[in-house]
């Protein structure tokens, strides 16, 4: 059981810095997700922890041990790859036994442990199959068992679910998270899928251009994005120009958005005084237009809608010409408005204000 400490990790390829100083302390047993678009450096960071990429600067500690210059095969990590990376010429049993054999464990222990872990991932009885005879989901289960059976200090997963179809992906989230909790293995999970990140993690680090933009528990990152980028990448958000009314250093801000006054929290101060309002679709109200919009309200027209049972999503064109997404749930969703209806959109007080510059 290992605490993982990253100390100012930097990595450059041909003078291009892909990791720009990443420091983070990941407590023992944490499921830690690196979330970001391709090219943000998340996989490079994972490979630095694995030891396949040597950082240009900075240190990696597993607990008290500095592993920065330890070869990958001596780091005692478990790794799960996007393409499963099962040895195609070896049976499921031999794949899972591979790491134990490398550690020269006695045969009866290998047999017992491999059986136990195959059982844990729900593949008991398939130990004689070849990987080519299995489905993608089964293969990833084998890969997971293979990585965990050696009792790794850190489990590293590089987009392990992106080759699976949607239904299987949801199912595998559960398998991975349950096993991780059972074994209490410190885990770094790389993904570009925010839903996965929100559903599985103890901690999410949203990465952008080689930096961690924001790090925190899933609900924290979702509810309180500190930048426009994070708000857009985690969950969906309507971002509209917001003109500050008065001094914005306090927690509660007053802004003019689309000709109306909206209040909410200001997440951080914009050096140039330019702000965006972050309004999640569920933080906007919608009703049929009757009379002029009041404070915190804007007139608009429904451009399109999708009824999905428990919720209905609307695309609304505001009077200023911008478009916003609005979602209604439960009772409200059951009596949808029609296409082309004139409506009034209202901002509630859960709206946030972030600097425009970082977006």
């Amino acid at each position: 059981m290992t605490e993982l400490v990253l100390g100012d990790i930097r990595k450059s390829y041909h003078h291009v810095e892909v990791l720009k100083g990443i420091s983070r302390r990941i407590p023992d047993g944490t499921f830690f997700t690196l979330l970001g678009p391709s090219g943000c450096g998340k996989t490079t960071l994972l490979r630095v922890v694995a030891g396949f990429v040597a950082p240009t600067a900075g240190r990696v500690h597993f607990g008290a041990e500095d592993v920065t210059h330890v070869a990958p095969h001596r780091r005692e990590i478990g790794m799960v790859f996007q393409d499963y990376a099962l040895f195609p010429d070896k049976s499921v049993f031999e794949n899972v036994a591979y790491g134990l054999r490398a550690r020269r464990r006695p045969n009866d222990e290998i047999k017992r442990k491999v059986g136990e872990y195959l059982e844990r991932v729900g593949l008991g009885g398939l130990s004689n199959r070849l990987p080519t005879e299995m489905s993608g989901g089964q293969r990833q289960r084998v890969a997971l068992a293979r990585a965990l059976v050696i009792g790794p200090r850190v489990l590293l997963m590089d987009e392990p679910l992106s080759n699976l179809d949607a239904a299987l992906r949801v199912q595998m989230r559960d398998v991975i998270r349950s096993l991780q909790l059972e074994t209490k293995t410190t885990t770094i999970f790389v993904t570009h899928d925010q839903e996965e990140a929100l559903a599985m993690s103890d901690q999410i680090a949203v990465m952008k251009d080689g930096r961690i933009d924001q790090c925190g528990a899933p609900d924290e990152v979702y509810r309180n994005p500190r930048t426009a980028y994070v708000s857009r990448f985690v969950g969906s958000a309507n971002l509209l120009e917001a003109r500050p009314m008065g001094n914005q250093t306090e927690e509660v801000g007053r802004f003019e958005v689309n000709g109306t006054i909206v209040t909410g929290r200001t997440m951080s101060e914009a050096a140039d005084g330019r702000y965006l309002v972050v309004a999640r679709p569920e933080n906007l109200g919608i009703r049929k237009a009757s009379g002029a919009p009041g404070e915190g309200e804007v007139a608009g027209r429904v451009r399109s809608l999708q009824f999905q049972g428990y919720r209905t999503s609307y695309r609304v064109v505001l009077c200023g010409g911008e478009e916003v997404n609005v979602e209604t749930f439960g009772e409200l969703a059951a009596t949808p408005l029609g296409r082309g209806d004139e409506v009034i959109i209202s901002f509630n007080d859960k709206c946030l204000f972030v600097p425009e510059a970082s977006s």
Binding site: F52, A71, M79, F81, P88, D89, Y98, A102, A147
Partner: protein, 546 residues
Amino acid sequence: MNRFLPWGLLSLFALGFLLLFIAYPILGVLLRSFIGEKGAFSTEGFVIFLTQGRYLEALLNSIILGIAVTFICTLVGVFLAFIVARFEIPFSNIVFLLPLSVLIIPELISAQSWIMVFGNNGLITHLFDALGIPFPRFYGWFGLIYVMTLTYYVHIFLAALAALRGFDHSLEEAGQSLGTAPLPTYIRVVFPTILPAVLSSGLVVFTLVVGNFAISIALGQRVPLLSVLTYRSFISELGGNPTMQSTLAMVSILLVASVLFLQRWYISKRDYQMVAGRTPPRAKLKGWKSLLAGGSAGLIIVLSLLPAFVVLAGSFTYARGPVMYWGQFTLDNYTRILDFNLGVIGNSLRFASLATLFGVTFATLVSYLLVKKRNALSSTLDYLLLLPLTISGTVLGIALAQGFNSGPLVLTGTAAIMVLAMMLRRLPFGVRNASSNLHNISNSLEEASVSLGVPPGRTFFNVVLPLMAPGIAAAAILTWVTTVAELSASVVIYQAGQETLPIQIFRLISSDLMARASAFGVINMIIILVPVFFGIRVMKVKLFSS
């Protein structure tokens, strides 16, 4: 980073090996071609080459022969590919023996068998004599073009067949739906798309013809050719002034290298990729068309396989000197080998197994380094590996013999140089075979193994090597096949007591002792055939996949 050191060291070793045994000897040839009799810089070699008629004539003859054979091979190869790909013909399965026949029947034996049919004492020649009809002389242009066409058309056939098979039938249907009739459509739509494959294999055939030694010397007594002249200059001037041999070798290298360069440039410019579509259905032919298509394809196939049977028959035929008594069977030709020439078989087996062992090991290592562990040395390695393709066997033999007959490393006259020559000739192909599977092995497989605690070196043996095995097996079989049949380099450098089967056959053919040559030929073919058969049947190796 010291954890990457082993691969860097191995790259360095591979680079050093290729520099020493390929680049250095060729550079030596280049330099010596500019050194005159007095040991100073001089262009006299090239002056002689350009002013003495026979050298220029030989160069011109080689080029003409190359063009003629390439042209006829293209006609035959494309025609046969077209018939096989588009029509249902009887015994079409036998077509797949063709690439094998080229492997199993060495060029020298092919030339020999056709001499036994059409030569001065040939079967058909005698038949025509008996009927009083004058038969055209086989030695010379006719024989050269005939035997070389039958030897090399398979290259174009295979390339054209692959291109035709890969051709998307719906393109053709699109052409037809726009209102053109089937045959014009075919010519207008299909031929342009298979042209790159045909042209590039054609250029390869050209380099093979120009570099060919065995057929050239067996049939070309009356037509001076560059490769034969190069060989003769070495044999007669051994120990004397090497200027002329170097000059001739240089001209041959320049000719082949420029054609190969043209071929690579052409391939790189025309990176045509056909979306693998539906393979067109094979049409049934009726009546005279069926007879014509099946008959002509059958004839080509019979002519390709015939040499094996002629030599087999000849080996059991009684002969007195050059005169063969067809119909009188004997085992004498074999018992003589058992009594006097077992050493020749031993030499062949010994040299070929060593060349295969070292060649395949080296090819495996290099292909792994080039595909998986690229570093600053890799592109230099890539280029050095192309060098053996640019030099004919004769030139390689001369380069090695000249390069290592003095100085700190003397190899000339040793068995090592024989093994080296055989191994180097096949190396580029060996690397290509060995790396064929490597591109499909994801890097994450190795990383998975390393992450599970197995160091990189052992990971290579545990994970990569088993997956490379099919390619390595193909490399081993093909290296074995070509080294057992190797003549042009070994005949330049062998010493008394180092005769191999092809060298022995070559000497017997030169003395017109065809029956005895046939017995050696049969043994040679068996030695080739056994591993090929074992590989294809037992190990399921795909020899022609790449």
